[in-house]
């Protein structure tokens, strides 16, 4: 005769939809990360480059009205960083040529270039630091503390768990890239002499979203993959920074000495740049872009498969 007869107690109240369970994981992660003072400082400073880049929009629009501002445009165009060998000379030269032919017609290209500069230069670096701050402990800490037992003893699938964790990263990435970029676009419109600029540039917000997607998916997949490989977050953090740093070093070394474009594929930063150039319509869909896009796809899918396998593994006893 058992002393304790404690059966499963069914909840008779209202439950949330099964499809939204992963939001709970995301919400908890977002709130936990938000507590960091360093993160809040970083989010604050992430908006400053948008203000600086907004000046570029103002200068361009003013140059269409005033001749004397035209001489500043070539310097503005030179803001664009190199995403692959000689790309700077190609893209910058194309935009310069377009501006010299007809300043107004070049609006889409110049706005795209400025937005791309924003994505690539300050936000590119911020993205690496931000994800390096947030992501390494997202899954590794759950493994270390065996919190995954608490997660998966509830009606939550590994996929929902991963989606929830990914949303944590996406939220903060959006806060430093997508939202400031959209705000920058709005600022550009507001700093223009005429609201009709929207007619020329209506597609740019969509391109911003697409460029954000191109940025977020592979980076999140990789970051969570690293986090799932270890119980100590510092190794995941190291792997993350090493990926970007060593890739850049490899590209700079090999690219400078061999002048061969394929080495840009070693640097994830430059691969992202290549695809983002195409997203912003600054380059056509050529071999370089297709190679870069394929690599991004591989870098998104393969780590994700391993990630799912790692997260599901502890319950497969």
């Amino acid at each position: 005769m058992p002393i304790h007869d404690v059966g499963y107690r069914r909840w008779n109240g209202v439950t949330t939809s099964l499809l939204l369970r992963w939001l709970v994981v995301a919400g908890a992660g977002i709130r936990l990360v938000w507590k960091s003072h360093w993160l809040r400082r970083m989010l604050f400073f992430a908006w400053l480059p948008a203000a600086v880049t907004g000046v570029g929009f103002f200068i361009y629009e003013q140059s269409l009205e005033r001749q004397e501002w035209k001489q500043a445009i070539p310097y503005l165009i030179e803001w664009y960083p190199e995403s692959r060998l000689n790309a700077r000379s190609e893209i910058a030269a194309n935009v310069k040529r377009a501006f010299e032919e007809d300043g107004k017609t070049a609006r889409h290209q110049i706005w795209s270039l400025l937005l791309l500069v924003f994505f690539r230069n300050p936000q590119g670096l911020l993205m690496v630091l931000l994800v390096g701050m947030i992501a390494p402990s997202l899954i590794s800490l759950d493994f270390r503390s065996r919190a995954y037992l608490l997660y998966f003893s509830r009606p939550l699938t590994p996929g929902e768990y991963i989606l929830g964790k990914a949303l944590v990263v996406w939220t903060y990435l959006a806060a430093v890239t997508t939202l400031p970029a959209l705000a920058l676009y709005v600022l550009g419109v507001l700093l223009s002499p005429d609201i009709s600029v929207v007619l020329d540039t209506w597609d740019l917000p969509l391109r911003i979203l697409l460029a954000s997607l191109v940025l977020m998916l592979p980076t999140t997949s990789l970051a969570l993959f690293f986090s799932s490989l270890t119980t100590e977050s510092r190794y995941a953090g190291f792997a993350w920074f090493a990926l970007w740093g060593l890739g850049w070093a490899a590209y700079e070394s090999l690219g400078n000495f061999t002048h061969a474009k394929q080495w840009s594929l070693l640097s994830l930063y430059h691969v992202l740049g290549c695809v983002q150039e195409w997203v912003f319509k600054l380059s056509t869909f050529n071999d370089d872009v297709s190679s870069a896009a394929t690599l991004l796809l591989i870098v998104t899918v393969m780590p994700f498969i391993v990630l799912v396998s790692r997260v599901a593994a502890p319950m497969r006893i």
Partner: protein, 311 residues
């Protein structure tokens, strides 16, 4: 040996310990309190890991903060689990002994000896990642006294140990105390501490509520009867039996789930008799709680006394 004068520790707005005044001579003390009561904070203040926000801590006349001479005389077994998955117990314990200034050979010898004392001689060459919780706990205990300290401070030392392990550990600690050395044993379970320490320090909410030997604590407990909660199919029948046996001070029914709350000063006898009654009367018990509630009630009573609500 240990003096605390008006010691308060704040973690920003969270109170760790609050206005503690304490003076301990050598001997053995049990630091008893529920989880989150400030035991670990108090121990960290004594071992010099934290500085008091207000007040003064002195160990052997000196502030323990950054005091190497004191740290040599202290052995600490913290509550946290140890996680060096690729290191053996012997390697880890001898490493920690070396940090006390012993040579490698001597450290290894001491480590092996202390691990043997805690029953880890068979497993000390395996990596700690393969250990159970109880084995890791024993290893932690071994590192606490391997360097032969004068004062041993143990924070929840019986966590993860099975009853045999607890018994063995209790014997080790008794021998330690009998050797003339000092011990502070922190736990949230009264009877664990009682077996080893002749004096108690009761802490709750960061405040030191009471201190003294077990008989004084038990006299407090004597005014606070043990409470046993039982959920069964025939509570009235069980209640009648209890009243007839005169083992219960009071019996109370709690609706709606057939719960019976028994207040008794003889819990041991109640537990002895209960199976016989259940069989004789054909009563089926679904659930039963007891034991720690009395500690809870003890603390509640002490808190009321401190607030002036009780004499």
């Amino acid at each position: 040996m240990i003096e605390l004068e008006r010691v308060t520790k704040l973690y920003r707005t969270v109170i760790g310990v609050n206005d503690i005044n304490l003076s301990l001579t050598g001997g053995s003390y049990g630091l008893v309190g529920p989880n989150g009561s400030g035991k670990t904070t108090l121990l960290n203040l004594i071992t010099g890991q934290l500085r008091p926000t207000i007040g003064v801590v002195r160990v052997l006349g000196y502030s323990p903060w950054n005091r190497d001479s004191l740290l040599r005389m202290i052995g600490l077994c913290p509550a946290v689990d140890v996680l060096y998955p690729n290191v053996t117990a012997l390697e880890w314990v001898s490493y920690l002994v070396q940090l006390h200034g012993f040579s490698r050979r001597e450290s290894r010898r001491r480590a092996a000896e202390s691990l043997d004392r805690v029953g880890m001689s068979g497993a000390m060459q395996r990596t700690m990642g393969t250990y159970s919780l109880g084995m890791r706990q024993r290893t932690k205990l071994a590192q606490a006294f391997a360097h032969d300290p004068q004062l041993l401070i143990l924070d929840e030392p019986f966590n993860g140990l099975d009853p045999i392990g607890r018994h063995e550990m209790t014997e080790v600690l008794k021998q330690w105390v009998q050797g003339g050395r000092s011990l502070i044993l922190a736990s949230h379970i009264l009877h664990e501490v009682e077996a080893v320490s002749p004096a108690f320090l009761l802490i709750r909410g960061g405040r030191l509520l009471a201190s003294g030997p077990p008989n004084e604590i038990h006299s407090l407990l004597a005014d606070v009867p043990n409470e046993i909660r039982v959920r069964c199919d025939q509570p009235a029948l069980l209640a009648r039996q209890l009243v007839e046996s005169q083992l219960a001070e009071s019996v109370r029914f709690v609706e709606p789930d057939n719960q019976l709350v028994i207040s008794t000063r003889s819990p041991v006898q109640v537990f002895e008799q209960l199976p016989l009654w259940l069989e004789k009367l054909g009563i089926h018990i679904d659930e039963m709680h007891s034991a720690d509630d009395s500690l809870q009630r003890l603390f509640t009573s002490l808190m009321r006394m401190h607030r002036g609500e009780e004499a």
